[in-house]
């Protein structure tokens, strides 16, 4: 019933890291299969425009709109597309699963119209009409500016950007950026394009206000509290590496990211984790690490090693971001007892704050038992309550039971034999 595919190198994720890996491996003559859950490559950052903007990977087999559901055994992935489940056998695996937005709860964060800054950006790129509508971007980091620029370009009125770190921290970050002239230029250009937009530092959301949907936001700006009317509130508190697949494969994960060596090889033989999956650092780091992973996976270790020295400045940039945009503890102090923490299962702060472990809370309140399996509330609970959140259970994403029944078979092979 189900087809089995074979490939030499499987690349999961067609964002900057995955595309770079596929390209580098293809250039070495390797047989590559690229898997992405979106209809077209590009990842979150080049959404839908990956083939135009990324390296050319036309020779790769592209499995689009396809999700990795499980890693049932070493050397094979269980995949689900629109129509079928199938098993992909690989020799080497590049896990370029990227990152998702970190969410922090505050009263009103579940109102329609309140969304992640990146998510809002994606909605607009996807055709959401925001012309003439008022938007507030709040949280921390460069993503706020990028999202504001997209919204402004789409005709929205960005009424405020609220950055939680202080002006002094921003100034220190800007000063440190001088070592990265390209990034500095980008930031300056972005800020210039948003020169008409009010920008507050040391400002954070206290509450999103509204009944049916958001109609305003209360902002703590230094000592003052302001209420600002808006139709959209995009919040961004940084990114979290997607480590569910590396964990399912048995890769070591530390500080929320896959542990890799200089060649971005994980603790599991033949598995590489370039890009955000091994540590948040942006598109340049992702592309470089993708190339390293692609070369190494294709056996071109010398070529891969030659690129390793270029990683150091990218890693320094990553730690700069982390250091200068560290979240202030006040951001977690806006909660009310009835503020929901687990949105899948509607579990409130009051319910959860009586527990001292994630497992016990999960058993008794269902927190984290929903479709997202604590992808959103897990990091929140870790921040709020200091819990070590339970490991993810298979499948990696909700999957049709028919997919879980898919069996590796020796018949009906569509793929080429491994070389």
């Amino acid at each position: 019933m189900s087809a089995e595919l074979r490939t030499n190198i499987a690349v999961v994720g067609a964002g900057p890291a995955g595309l770079a890996a596929a390209h580098a491996a293809l250039a070495q003559g390797a047989d590559v299969t690229l898997i992405d859950d979106n209809p077209s490559p590009g990842g979150q950052i080049w959404r839908g425009t990956g083939l135009a903007r990324g390296p050319n990977v036309k020779q790769a087999r592209l499995l689009a709109s396809t999700r990795v559901v499980a890693a049932p055994q070493a050397g094979s992935l269980l995949l689900e597309s629109m129509n079928e489940g199938q098993v992909l056998r690989y020799r080497r695996l590049v896990v370029a699963t990227g990152a998702r937005e970190r969410m922090l709860p505050f009263p009103g964060w579940t109102l329609p119209g309140v969304t992640g800054a990146g998510g809002l950006q994606a909605l607009v790129k996807g055709g959401l009409d925001v012309r003439g509508q008022r938007a507030v971007l709040a949280g921390s980091g460069p993503l706020l500016l990028a999202a504001a620029a997209v919204l402004q370009q789409a005709g929205a009125q960005v009424v405020l950007i609220a950055e939680q770190v202080s002006a002094a921290a921003l100034a220190r970050f800007a000063w440190a950026l001088r070592a990265y002239p390209d990034k500095l230029m980008q930031a300056v250009a972005l800020r210039w394009s948003l020169r008409a937009v009010p920008y507050h530092s040391h400002a954070h959301v206290l509450e999103a206000v509204g009944d049916e949907r958001v109609r305003g936001v209360r902002i703590q700006h230094g000592e003052r509290i302001r209420e600002i009317a808006c139709d959209w509130l995009g919040v961004g508190f940084g990114l979290i590496p997607n480590t569910e697949l590396p964990q399912a494969l048995g890769c070591d994960v530390a500080h929320g990211a896959a542990v890799v060596d200089a060649l971005v090889h994980t603790s599991v033989a033949g598995v590489y984790a370039p890009g955000e999956a091994c540590g948040i650092g942006g598109v340049d780091k992702a592309q470089l690490e993708g190339r390293i992973a692609g070369l190494a996976a294709a056996g071109a270790d010398d070529a891969a090693r030659a690129l390793v020295p270029r990683r150091a400045p990218q890693l320094r940039f990553a730690s700069l971001l982390q250091k200068h945009f560290a979240l202030r503890p006040e951001l977690l102090q806006t909660l009310r007892p009835d503020t929901l923490i687990c949105r899948c299962e509607d579990v409130s702060h009051a319910q959860l704050s009586q527990f001292d472990s994630s497992r016990e809370a999960k058993l008794l309140t269902r927190c984290g038992m929903g479709a997202c399996q604590a992808r959103m509330c897990g990091p929140i609970c870790a921040d709020l309550y200091g819990w070590v959140v339970d490991g993810h259970r298979p499948p990696l994403q909700p999957a049709r039971l028919a997919t879980l029944m898919s069996e590796p078979s020796n018949h009906d092979r569509k793929g080429v034999q491994p070389s």
Partner: protein
């Protein structure tokens, strides 16, 4: 008395004993209700694999039914009933034999023919011959039900020592890993799969099972659905699957079941999971289109004769066992607790305790040498 283990058996026993005026303290190494109790389905079902199994599960179900109104809503008590599904005439004949046995104990049940079965459960495969309907059987959410029992015990004056890893037990004594020794008139080990670590030689072995839970599909099925072959499938020492699907109060479906004897790993066994789901699909042909959310595994504390060990450790006066309920511990918890409490008090249990007496497997070895002399109760 000291109870080692705050799973559903230890919690039910604590509640039962404290209500009888005993002074009770429960020692739990991990999270109360966090092991076998947390992993299972929560189907309160009368099984008649043997007269003793029937007696205990019947008594257990009746006790849950009697306490229905006390349970918190989050325990998700639902009397959805059980349909034991028959595929062919031979299984229909077995359904009829089961009806006679259960009716003989005054249990409500009736045989349902194919047309009625189609009306009761339209998603079931059209080719089924019929079923035995047990209309008053129940589904609950075990972790909450178990914690309710423990909380009741604590409210009535019992004590709970959390994080109390137990190193050894002996006549009226419990040695903790931190060096302390707790003493009491009686010690009851209700530690499930960990019981043989404390009372060496107790023939309890972990029997692995796997479950899958789906997205919400309210009324997709309305009864707990079990294949009649289930009772047979639970015997023997080969890895096996049997069709067993439960509608949760949330509208989700819980899909089982499997049994593995050698596998001690907590990871999902994919070939067996596929086998289990395909078995389920034979009964529910459109199952493949539903979204599966999570798969997990658990370990049932199994004994060679499929009956729990309830009573004194052979040769001991003040050391007791309440363990080894395999997959039936949620159903029998209240019955097992009453029986052990009766034995502890020296009164006559409502049902004959001899089939569950650990002496049938004894004698066992306890770790009395390892107990330090110093006492800190």
């Amino acid at each position: 008395m000291l109870i080692v283990g705050a799973g559903i058996i230890g919690s039910a026993l604590a509640e039962c004993c404290v209500r009888r005026g005993m002074s009770v303290r429960v020692v739990e190494a991990g999270i109360p209700a966090g092991a076998t109790t947390a992993a299972g389905m929560g189907h309160l079902v009368v099984l008649d694999g043997s007269p003793a199994e029937l007696a205990l599960s019947d008594d257990g179900l009746r006790r849950w039914q009697a306490r229905r109104a006390e349970l918190p809503a989050a325990a998700e008590y639902r009397a959805c009933g059980t349909l034991w599904l028959a595929r062919n005439d031979a299984e229909m004949a077995e359904a009829e034999r089961m009806r006679v046995r259960l009716a003989g104990r005054g249990l409500a049940c009736r045989v349902v023919r194919a047309p009625e079965l189609r009306r009761l459960e339209p998603e079931l495969a059209p080719g089924l011959a019929g079923a035995l309907l047990r209309p008053d059987e129940v589904v609950i959410y075990p972790p909450v039900a178990s914690r309710w029992l423990l909380d009741e015990a604590l409210r009535l004056g019992a004590g709970l020592l959390r994080g109390g890893a137990v190193q050894a037990v002996d006549e009226g004594a419990v040695a903790l890993a931190d060096g302390r020794t707790l003493r009491a008139r009686n010690v009851v080990v209700a530690a499930g799969n960990a019981t043989p670590d404390l009372v060496v030689g107790v023939p309890i072995k972990p029997r692995k099972g796997q479950l899958v839970v789906t997205e919400r599909y309210p009324d997709y099925v309305r009864h707990q659905l079990v294949e009649l072959g289930y009772v047979g499938a639970t015997h023997g020492e080969v890895d096996a699957v049997a069709f067993n699907v439960q509608p949760r109060a949330t509208g989700q479906l819980l899909i089982g079941s499997s049994r593995q004897y050698a596998d001690r790993g907590t990871g999902v066994d994919w070939p067996l999971l596929r086998h289990m789901l395909r078995r389920a699909q034979e009964y529910l042909p459109r199952l493949g289109g539903l979204q599966g959310l999570r798969a997990w595994t658990g370990f049932r504390p199994a004994t060679p004769d499929k009956l729990p060990l309830l009573g004194r450790v052979p040769g001991a006066a003040r050391l007791w066992l309440a363990a080894g309920h395999e997959g039936l511990g949620i159903t029998t918890a209240l019955a097992s607790a009453q029986l052990v409490a009766d034995l502890l008090c020296g009164s006559d249990p409502a049902i004959d305790p001899s089939p569950y007496d650990p002496v049938r497997f004894g004698p066992f070895v306890t770790e009395s040498d390892t107990l330090p002399a110093e006492v800190a109760a």
